[in-house]
């Protein structure tokens, strides 16, 4: 056994003074009843938000131009998800880094997404009873990669911007089967069939995995536009809010705040830098008792004298 000096930030003189009555069961019961009353009151007064989820059907009917543009980007491999990199696909130079280390690249592609196949061609393959789709798919699949790219380029220079009734107006020349594929996927989405097709892409029947429909949804501007009108965009303190005037995840304020300031806001590695900062700060909180300086602040700040004012008053300190 060794001895060391008394450290007021680590050691205490255990209490041998007066005790007072304390009914722990009564205290617990009163606390539960009090919280129950508070929760019931808040629930009656404010309820809870429940805005319906957005579907691909809703999106493609409300803004078919945006949907068709996004569908083209998925087929061409130019959408945000197609160019995302790990864990969805392999795109050199996309993994965020801290110094030389890219943790996401180290983990690799574990949720493989090929947007052309998974979001466009495979869903359309469930619609082969529609002759135009069957023909277009066969034409696409029998074409060379360079031919496909030529069609995509030609289509991309004249993306549809107008509607004729419920149908998209395609103006691109020499785009091969691309207009038919995009038009077919848009019709499929408008009927609601694409929602189910994307959900069941990776399974035979049951699915609780919404990765594909959510990624497709996030590639368009419609979903983000709705979020902005609900004050949920990233520059509106994004995901810590929820729809309506509810407190949301207020405890994420620091995490969300970091995204609003430099260097995080302007860094291409913003996400990993914010997470690294939060991990560091969390570790500081957890290990406060062992960190000199940080553990001394309470003694120096002296807020404890307010908390224990009755004790210090009676003990004459």
């Amino acid at each position: 056994m060794t001895t060391r000096s008394f450290n007021p930030d680590v050691d205490v003189v255990e209490w041998t003074g007066a005790q007072r009555p304390y009914d722990i069961l009564k205290e617990g019961t009163i606390a539960v009843v009090f919280v129950l009353i508070v929760v019931l009151t808040l629930s009656v007064l404010f309820g809870s938000p429940d805005d319906s989820p957005v579907t691909l059907k809703q999106w493609s009917n409300a803004n078919p131009i945006d949907f068709a543009t996004t569908a083209y980007q998925e087929l061409a491999g130019t959408s945000a998800v197609a160019q995302y990199g790990a864990p969805y696909n392999s795109v050199p130079g996309t993994g965020q880094r801290i110094g030389p280390v890219s943790l996401v690249d180290l983990m690799g592609v574990t949720i493989p997404i090929n947007t052309a196949q998974d979001f466009v061609l495979r869903p359309l393959a469930t619609q082969l009873s529609v002759p135009a789709i069957a023909t277009s798919l066969a034409t696409w699949r029998h074409a060379s990669a360079s031919q496909q790219q030529t069609w995509l380029t030609n289509y991309g220079t004249h993306l549809p911007t107008t509607m004729h009734g419920a149908a998209l107006v395609f103006t691109a020349n020499d785009a091969g089967p691309v207009p038919s594929l995009i038009g077919g996927l848009t019709s499929m989405a408008q009927s609601g069939a694409l929602d189910n097709a994307l959900l069941s892409n990776s399974t035979s029947y049951y699915s609780t995995n919404y990765t594909e429909p959510l990624l497709f949804l996030s590639d368009g501007t419609y979903f983000a536009g709705l979020a902005t009108t609900k004050h949920l965009a990233g520059d509106q303190w994004g995901m810590m809010n929820e729809t309506g005037s509810f407190p949301g995840q207020a405890w994420l304020w620091l995490y969300t705040f970091l995204y609003q300031i430099t260097p995080y806001a302007t860094s291409p590695n913003a996400d990993v830098l914010v997470w690294a900062t939060m991990m560091l700060l969390s570790a500081l909180v957890v290990f406060v008792p062992f960190i000199p300086g940080l553990r001394s602040l309470p003694r120096r700040v002296k807020l404890y004298r307010l908390i224990w004012r009755q004790h210090y008053r009676t003990s004459g300190r």
Partner: protein, 209 residues
């Protein structure tokens, strides 16, 4: 206990150790030190009470499944209670945490009490976050698509896919509550074992280490 074989049994050793560490007056005390006299102490038990409400309302929602509350008035009200229980829980817990910080409540061999409390706070953030992802409404869609970038950037997205409702629901109703409740139990046991930290005193003598 005269039989040495009984004294050596794991069960006997554990019972004796528990009896020595947690005599009944520590588990269910009827007195406490006179310095425990501030409203700040209320927020610990309020956090526990709110946790009870979170668990009870969550269990009620679980009976009918994750989408019931969208189509039932009763379900929606229970969901509202679940939401506000969580808000009260975090409100009370954050005040409790700051209060304990300014009391330097880790002193006197209570560092693990602090650590378990702080880790419970972080675990609760994860539990609440997965709850938002499990709501099966616009909020869960938006929060999932926003949060994926941060989690993916750390590499954790490879095994923790926020876009996978089934996975997030399981984390929300099984894994994270188990961890949070286990840590909370450990935290309370440590509080009962060590007692409430005494006030700062002007003492400078040597202590055994």
């Amino acid at each position: 206990m005269n039989d040495p074989r009984i004294a050596r049994q794991w069960t006997t050793r554990l019972r004796l150790r528990v009896e020595g560490t947690f005599p009944p007056e520590k588990i269910l005390p009827d007195t406490q030190p006179s310095y425990v006299a501030s409203w700040i102490y209320v927020f610990g038990v309020l956090t526990l009470a709110a946790l009870v409400m979170v668990i009870v309302t969550g269990c009620l929602l679980a009976i009918m499944g994750p989408t019931w509350w969208h189509v039932s008035g009763v379900g929606h009200f229970i969901n509202s209670m679940h939401l506000w229980s969580v808000e009260v829980f975090f409100f009370a817990m954050v005040i409790h945490l700051w209060g304990k910080y300014f009391m330097a409540a880790w002193r006197g061999g209570r560092s693990m009490t602090w650590v378990t409390g702080a880790v419970t706070f972080l675990t609760s953030i994860g539990a609440a976050f997965t709850g938002y992802l499990s709501q099966t409404n616009f909020d869960s869609q938006w929060i999932a698509t926003q949060a994926k970038d941060g989690i993916n950037a750390t590499g954790a997205g490879s095994v923790f896919n926020v876009l996978n409702l089934g996975q997030m629901l399981m984390w929300h109703i099984v894994l994270l509550p188990l961890v949070a409740l286990g840590l909370t139990a450990l935290h309370v046991i440590l509080v009962r074992k060590r007692g409430v930290v005494p006030p700062f005193a002007d003492v400078t003598e040597a202590v055994s280490a």
